[in-house]
């Protein structure tokens, strides 16, 4: 829809952002306890969303839409860690212990 150069630049950004986003969401599903899941979602919240929004900014060119995308990016970069920190602190306060060792069968 826009110039070829913008497409060429934004295409890898968006694909990489999407891949990172799915990996972060997969980490949310697969990690053993709350604290490691937070680690996984912060990957998708910051870098995955960042790359996606950067790709969209390139696609939108120099316009109001890019400004709004920048605001969304700043919003995500600020609210994500605040919410994760609050959840982690509440979990610790509620007495949730992070799983420091994995007692596998071979006792390692």
């Amino acid at each position: 829809m826009s110039s070829l150069a913008a497409d060429i630049i934004s295409w890898p950004l968006i694909v990489a952002g999407s891949a990172l986003y799915v990996i972060g969401a997969l980490g949310l599903l697969r990690m053993p306890d709350v604290f490691t899941r937070m680690h996984a979602t912060s990957v998708s919240d910051t870098l995955g969303a960042g790359l996606l929004l950067a790709g969209m900014m390139v696609q939108a060119g120099f316009s109001l839409v890019s400004a709004k995308l920048a605001v969304v990016l700043l919003l995500l970069l600020y609210t994500g860690p605040v919410a994760t920190h609050a959840i982690a602190r509440a979990a610790r306060y509620a007495g949730l212990e992070p799983q420091l060792h994995v007692d596998k069968e071979d006792g390692s």
Partner: protein, 94 residues
Amino acid sequence: MFEIAAVAVVIAHVFAVIRALRGPTVFDRLLAGNTIGTAAILLLAVVGFLTGRPEFLDIGITYGLLNLIGTLAVLKFFRFGDLSHDAQEEGAEL
């Protein structure tokens, strides 16, 4: 190009809902809710681009703010038992 992003974000939604349903503790569910909120913002932005309507981004920004406040409110409710707890009354121990 945006279809890939939309599919990825919807997959993230599905994973977050699965984690919300399965999450043993309330904090897993809260984390999943927070992830759903973030993914919703991105889905709004991507769909706004797909359908050529830039005003979706405003909805996304508002939803992002509400999502944060909602998460903090639920956390406060689970920690102090009720939302009207005033830390100055009993001297917040934490």
